[in-house]
């Protein structure tokens, strides 16, 4: 699906570093966190000029898409670096839903015609898209898909909340047809489609409610195999969201460390109090563990068991780590962290919203049970998990 990963594992290449710097620089200039806040406060979905620039100047939307579909044939790892940088500044809008959800779904459906028609437009930044799967329960499960497609391909049902669902130029939907769950494409303006924006906890990403009443749709991919495509897209999105969360956590840790190094109370920098130091250290541990989980997953080949496992691990670990980090960020800032003007709450809102977007960590762990059981079944009595520490102090 995506290009193969580069060796060595966890070994950054010059290209990786270059990509990170380019993206960071561009965002710092045109989309710092203050800009994300500004868009959210005035209720703007995104900055269209920047979105175009991301595509035209750096080619980010098509970075990991195959060259035959107008992309640059980069890896998921490249894309992870990009969204990590976006996470630092809480970049929102259509990038993530388009590039991390809808595009992977289109690719996974493996419908050449649809890919050829839409992916180049995604790559050049002229088309935004959304993936509509859940129907109010928040659970990603084929059983929970009750939107139906009749024999004529007309869809009836409701999808919510859908990331960017009320605004995207293209909707990729999972619906249950005669052959089982398939993916369908619907463009805005199609009869029987109603789209209503929802109010959101995290103002940087819009969500919408879709209502479909005998809405004509185009089925893509193998009939009845849509859920497998959803599963693949969700894995890709999970890895990318984990990377995005790593960026957000890193920003939180830096923000807090900086504050602790400048704020003085009781005659000392607050960073010299262990009450602050130790909580910060725990934040750093959570960040580093998250980084490992997210990038280990990004280094696996999509479609392999390792990738699925990495995606689930990263999703479970990073989303809980991020929420705790955002809470700690507010705590260590004290009163100022509790104000509207401080960015801490923007990170908190994003953390909570993330947790609900791709299935909760609890759901993800329930899904992991099979893998865990398989691992336990292969137990042998070899290697201990940690080299024995011989001399305590």
């Amino acid at each position: 699906m995506y290009a193969e990963q580069r060796d060595p594992e966890f070994g950054w290449t010059g290209e990786h570093r270059q990509l990170r710097e380019t993206v960071r620089g561009l965002l710092a200039e045109r989309a710092p966190v203050s800009r994300s806040r500004e868009l959210a406060e005035v209720g703007e979905r995104y900055d269209p000029a920047l979105y175009a620039a991301l595509a035209e100047q750096v080619g980010l939307q098509g970075l990991a898409l195959p060259e035959r579909f107008g992309g640059y044939g980069g890896t998921l790892l490249d894309l992870a670096i990009v969204v990590e940088e976006m996470g630092r500044v809480l970049h929102g809008g259509p990038f993530f839903p388009t590039v991390a959800l809808a595009a992977p779904a289109l690719m996974a459906a493996a419908d050449e015609a649809a890919c050829a028609e839409y992916l180049p437009r995604i790559a050049d930044g002229t088309l935004t898209a959304a993936l509509a799967v859940v129907e109010g329960s928040g659970v990603w499960s084929a059983d929970d898909v009750s939107t139906t497609a009749d024999i004529g391909g007309l869809l009836t049902g409701a999808k919510f909340p859908v990331l960017d669902g009320a605004d995207a130029d293209l909707l990729v939907l999972a619906a249950r047809g005669p052959e089982g769950v398939s993916l369908y494409l619907v463009e805005p303006g199609t009869p029987g489609l109603r789209r209503a924006p929802m109010e959101t906890l995290d103002g940087t990403r819009r969500m919408g409610r879709l209502t479909l009443d005998r809405t004509p749709a185009r089925r893509i991919g193998t009939p009845g195999q849509g859920w497998a495509a959803v599963v693949q897209a969700r894995e890709v999105a999970s890895v990318l969201m984990a990377a995005e969360q790593v960026g957000a956590m890193a920003a939180c840790v830096e923000l807090t460390a900086e504050y602790a190094k400048t704020r003085r109370q009781f005659g000392r920098l607050i960073g010299s109090f262990q009450g602050v130091k130790h909580r910060l250290a725990d934040m750093a541990v959570r960040l580093e563990m998250s980084r490992s989980a997210a990038y280990w997953a990004a280094w696996q080949d999509p479609g392999t068991d390792e990738f699925s496992f990495g995606a689930a691990t990263a999703r479970s670990f990073c989303s809980e780590a991020y929420l705790q980090t955002a809470q700690d960020t507010i705590q260590l800032h004290g009163g100022i962290g509790f104000t509207w003007e401080h960015d801490a709450h923007l990170y908190l809102r994003r953390a909570r919203a993330d947790m609900a977007l791709l299935g909760t960590p609890t759901q993800v762990r329930a899904e992991l049970e099979t893998t865990v059981l398989a691992a336990a079944a292969e137990l042998d009595s070899a290697v201990p998990a940690w080299p024995a520490i011989e001399v305590p102090a």
Binding site: M207, R263, Q265, F266, G275, V276, M355, T362
Partner: protein, 411 residues
């Protein structure tokens, strides 16, 4: 119109409750009483929302001493013990005849502090007005540059030749400052003294020129607090509470009240977790065994906190002074954060999106969950207080503790 002198009040709990209840039935406006008897909450709230009617009732109530039952007889109160006072409060609450939350600073902080430190003139001027609900008060302690280190405040008050004071500085986290008649103000009067020793306490008339409260928006999106800018504010020396440069001692009285400030006898009963359980039943989250265990855990923890509050109440009645207010505050902060997150998890989509106008309550609880671990002294400060005062741990080293305030580092 007034109740008997406290020595004549019935001694038995039930009798005291009956006496207060009877007095309320006799004195409450008939439509108010009828609405209470009919259980018509909306009607009561409508009456209470009418400023004129409310003022009239609080005047009657205040004159009786029942609004401030622990205050001394002759100074607006009935001289009751906390325990007996709670019986009065229970009756007031039962008839929705009690003073509103916004009077917390006036009744719980300002009154007792003035009782302890005020001159006869100050007591005579302020206490009856407080008891009758004629004045709204706010607190002007915190400053952006001081934060948890309250005594590091830098608002300056300079005494002038005519003995009045010229005050300049900025305060923060002042609730109701934009509406208040008076403020409890700490200002630095001797920058050459170490930080605790150069502070003076004032009862500031909030209508004085140069006092400018501005709303401060919190992460919840609400603005319950203000920043208050003080620019060349002239305060007469008669507004000074307690001796010059001993304002920190006066503030301690206020702060102790704040931490122990319980209104009414605490009980073991409905709390926030009950509401969450109710919501979980509605959304179906109760069917999830993991959420169920967390809900019951929270329920147990909240009840244990209530039981602790009762113990604190009994201990306070017996006069044992403790840092136990900090224990309860810390436990409450922890619980509040837990409940704030848990509440969102009971919503099928995590309360992260909703149709216009249908914002789930879980959203507000989530955004407000950090309030108690920061407001009124951070959890870190509470842990220090508990460790130092309950367990006898040494104080944190403050390298500048004895330095003149003006020589301290800022940041």
């Amino acid at each position: 119109m007034t109740l008997a002198h406290p020595v004549d009040l019935p001694a038995a709990e039930a009798d005291l409750a009956d006496a207060v209840g009877a007095w309320l039935r006799e004195n409450l406006p008939p439509d108010w009483l009828a609405a209470v008897d009919a259980g018509d909450h909306a009607a009561v709230e409508r009456i209470r929302a009418d400023p004129g009617r409310r003022a009239a009732w609080f005047d009657v109530l205040g004159a009786s001493g029942l609004a401030t039952p622990t205050w001394p007889w002759g100074q607006g109160g009935l001289g009751l013990t906390a325990d007996r006072a709670s019986i009065v409060t229970e009756q007031l609450v039962r008839y929705r005849a009690e003073r509103p939350n916004q009077d917390f600073v006036g009744l719980t902080l300002a009154g007792p502090t003035i009782l302890e430190w005020g001159t006869d003139e100050q007591k005579a001027a302020r206490l009856p007005a407080l008891a009758r609900g004629r004045e709204l008060w706010c607190q002007l302690f915190s400053e952006p540059g001081a934060g948890s280190d309250l005594a590091a405040l830098s608002t300056r008050a300079v005494q002038r030749e005519d003995s009045s004071w010229l005050v300049n500085g900025q305060k923060v986290w002042n609730s109701y400052a934009h509406l208040a008649d008076f403020g409890l103000l700490m200002a630095r009067t001797d920058p050459a003294a170490p930080k605790h020793r150069g502070i003076t306490y004032f009862l500031l008339d909030m209508r004085t020129p140069g006092v400018e409260p501005r709303p401060l928006k919190q992460m919840t999106g609400n603005a319950e607090f203000n920043e208050t800018f003080l620019t060349d504010v002239v305060v007469p020396d008669s507004a000074r509470l307690g001796p010059v440069n001993q304002g920190w001692a006066v503030a301690i009285t206020t702060l102790m009240q704040e931490r122990n400030g319980l209104s009414g006898r605490p009980v073991v009963g409905q709390g926030e977790s009950d509401r969450l359980v109710g919501r979980a039943l509605t959304t179906g989250a109760w069917r999830d065994p993991l959420l169920r265990d967390r809900l019951v855990s929270a329920f147990v923890e909240e009840r244990a906190l209530q039981m602790t509050t009762i113990r604190g109440f009994v201990a306070a009645g017996s006069g044992a002074p403790t840092a136990e207010g900090s224990i309860r505050k810390l436990a409450h902060a922890t619980l509040s954060e837990k409940l704030g997150v848990l509440g969102t998890e009971l919503e099928p989509d995590g309360a992260v999106a909703w149709d216009a106008g249908e914002r789930p309550v879980a959203v507000d609880a989530f955004l407000a969950m950090k309030t108690y671990s920061i407001a009124g002294g951070t959890s870190e400060i509470q842990r220090n207080i508990i460790s130092e005062r309950v367990l006898g741990m040494p104080k944190d080293p403050d390298p500048e503790r004895h330095k003149p305030f003006q020589e301290r580092s800022r940041g």
